[in-house]
């Protein structure tokens, strides 16, 4: 496990200057992605997932902190290393409608990068390569897609073309920004399976952003999940641990919010603790102490609103929560009722290969 991670974010901060004052979209995130592993970033809208991913992809420059690719900080790279990084790290956009140039055919979109970097020679070879890429993302027969324009494709097909384009560069790390959120369920599973094949067969690392815990559970079962809230990681650990036995109240709330088709479980879900408020605090004016405390069901005055909680090891994962930390300190005694939610839906371990 001591190999250099593919991607390492340390102390990543991104502050945007807005008219209302600086906004810390991401406030100090430390994450690692290893080859062939998946790191899932989950959290509600506006919590800084995408900002983190964009900094990791080198699209934006973080205001402080470092992005390291194979142990080398981006800022210290020379031109050749930067080109290598550019090619190895590919980013799949969320919106399949906006990410394809409407004036170019699928063939032209797929091969632009290949041609530019001299990876294919001649039209026949380029077409063969493009067809291979399309087959890889299950767009078959490729011949009927190569000369299509984006507007002639459905959303799912476009998203596959998007994925195929990033695969063209033989990436070592794929950053997927909600890449499956626009797809319908059956296509989502087949695309996830395609990506899973890349992970297993080609050792591609994934930074996978989603707000869909089912997707996270399905795709990152062997990997890790990092739960973000208002620009900070609040819980980070192996997927089965985080989903099966969440510790942070926010993670619990996220898991509790998953729709549950089984009415008995849904009832149990309703009886699970509710957030005290649905409103997300403004990034301009973060609450003192734990940023989650105005909404937290486990909020205890004096404990939570003092200082920022730090990520601390708890139950085989890191959690940033004063209450959890205090309870752990207290609990040599095993009476830990407040923190286990066996009834929380989604906390049942699925069979590894079951459908979502």
């Amino acid at each position: 496990m001591s190999e250099t991670p593919l991607l390492k974010l340390s102390g990543l901060e991104q502050v945007f200057d807005t008219r209302k004052g600086p906004v810390a979209a991401v406030g100090g995130v430390d994450l690692e992605v290893k080859a062939g592993k998946v790191l899932c970033l989950v959290g509600e809208s506006g919590c800084g997932k995408t900002t983190t991913a964009r900094a990791a992809a080198g699209i934006t420059r973080p205001t402080s902190g470092a992005v390291e690719f194979r142990g080398k900080p981006l800022t210290a790279m020379n031109a050749a290393e930067r080109t290598e990084y550019r090619r190895s790290v590919q980013y799949i956009h969320q919106d399949p409608y906006a990410a394809l140039n409407p004036t170019r055919t699928v063939y032209s979109t797929l091969t632009a990068g290949l041609k530019r970097h001299g990876l294919v020679k001649g039209r026949t070879e380029a077409r063969a390569k493009a067809a291979e890429l399309l087959r890889l993302v299950d767009l078959t027969p490729p011949e009927s897609y190569l000369d299509a324009y984006p507007h002639q494709l459905s959303g799912g097909q476009r998203q596959r073309v998007n994925v195929a384009r990033s695969l063209a560069m033989d990436p070592k790390l794929l950053i997927c920004d909600e890449s499956t959120s626009m797809l319908d369920v059956s296509i989502r599973v087949s695309l996830l399976n395609t990506l899973g094949r890349l992970r297993d067969e080609l050792d591609v690392g994934f930074l996978f952003i989603t707000h869909d815990l089912a997707v996270a559970k399905y795709f990152a079962w062997d990997g890790e999940i990092a739960v973000m809230y208002l620009g900070k990681v609040v819980e980070h650990g192996p997927t089965p641990e985080v989903i099966g036995n969440p510790q942070h109240p926010y993670t619990k709330a996220l898991i509790g919010a998953v729709c549950e088709p089984d009415p008995d479980l849904a009832k149990a879900n309703r009886s699970a603790e509710q957030l005290r408020s649905a409103e997300i605090p403004s990034l301009h004016d973060l609450p003192a102490g734990c940023a989650f405390h105005p909404r937290c069901p486990a909020f205890e005055p004096g404990v939570c609103d003092g200082e920022r909680p730090l990520l601390q090891l708890a139950e085989r994962r890191n959690v940033a929560c004063h209450v959890v930390a205090r309870d752990r300190r207290r609990a040599a005694a095993p009476d830990d009722r407040t923190l286990t939610f066996d009834a929380v839906p989604g906390s049942r371990r699925p069979e590894p290969e079951s459908a979502i």
């Binding site: 590919q90 004036t103 970097h117």
Partner: protein, 299 residues
């Protein structure tokens, strides 16, 4: 990954798929676009090929002053007894090529500078914006009149340069604005992530998205430029060497030919040519817009 057998690759594109082919199908598909194209091609052909076909011998004949249209003189004769139709055939070439040249110049300058300014922003953008501010505030026609009056024997290409240099600023602004909006789109970011290179991104990823807009503006610019040059002739500010539409209108106006019923063919012919050419260009522009937009092209 498994090696994949070569797909049934089409090594050569058919005519329909090439850019020219697309423009052609776009122009010919809609009835209006087709009519416009035919009109423009007809007038261009009339003005450029016509002079090679029509007998250029057109002597002054005092016995034939202001005769009505006849089999021999299709549009009758003018005040010197010359054949009006021959004059008309020879009159179109200069306004058209000068207008085309001025418009080409203005559009190229506007597109190149506008894309660069919109994409890179910063100091070069500020500088170019200042330049357009200055250009826009200069009254175009007055500048042209001043320049033409100053250089008495100005050649037609000189007029093209003067006309073109007053027309680029507005188009520059719209191109710049469009590039600024397009460059924020995700497909541009995707191109950047593929390391496609800045020039390629600007001119091959962003620009084609404005192709219809640029072509329509080109057509409008040709129109404006023709108006400008014809206007200069009408005002009598240009050396009256080669025959052209503007000169015909100038003479009709200066000598009150429009009061003479028998002179009507001579008075109306150049006006009709200009009006038809304008209508043709505008309808053709609409067809071009469709031809260059893959979304409109399909059905």
């Amino acid at each position: 990954m498994t090696a994949v057998e070569a797909p049934a690759a089409k090594p050569r594109r058919t005519f329909r798929e090439s850019t020219l082919g697309q423009i052609w199908t776009g122009l010919t598909r809609s009835p209006a676009g087709f009519a416009g194209t035919v009109l423009v091609l007809a007038i261009v052909g009339f003005s450029f090929i016509g002079p090679l076909v029509v007998d250029q011998d057109n002597p002054t004949d005092t016995s034939m002053i202001w005769t009505a249209p006849s089999g021999e003189h299709w549009l009758g004769t003018q005040y010197e007894g010359k054949d009006t139709f021959t004059i008309l055939v020879n009159s179109g070439a200069e306004p058209i090529w000068v207008g085309g040249m001025a418009a080409t110049m203005a559009v190229i300058v506007a597109v190149v500078l506008g894309s660069i300014a919109g994409y890179f922003r910063g100091r070069i953008d500020a500088l170019l914006l200042q330049l357009t501010d200055v250009t826009v505030t200069i009254p175009q026609f007055l500048l042209m009149i001043a320049v033409v009056a100053f250089f008495e024997d100005i050649p037609p290409w000189g007029v093209a340069i003067v006309v073109g240099s007053t027309m680029w600023a507005f188009l520059f602004r719209s191109i710049r604005a469009q590039v600024m909006s397009l460059k924020e789109r995700e497909f541009v970011e995707a191109a950047k992530l593929q390391h496609l290179g800045t020039m390629r991104i600007v001119f091959r990823e962003i620009l084609p998205n404005m192709a219809g807009f640029i072509f329509v503006n080109f057509v409008i610019a040709v129109n404006q430029a023709i108006y400008a040059i014809v206007g200069l002739y009408v005002l009598g500010l240009m050396p009256s060497g080669t025959p052209n539409w503007g000169l015909m209108i100038h003479l009709s106006w200066q000598n009150n030919f429009f009061l003479l019923p028998v002179a009507m063919p001579y008075v109306l012919a150049p006006l009709l040519m200009i009006v038809l050419f304008t209508i043709g260009l505008v309808t053709m522009g609409r067809g071009l817009d469709q031809a260059l937009n893959p979304r409109l092209r399909d059905r």
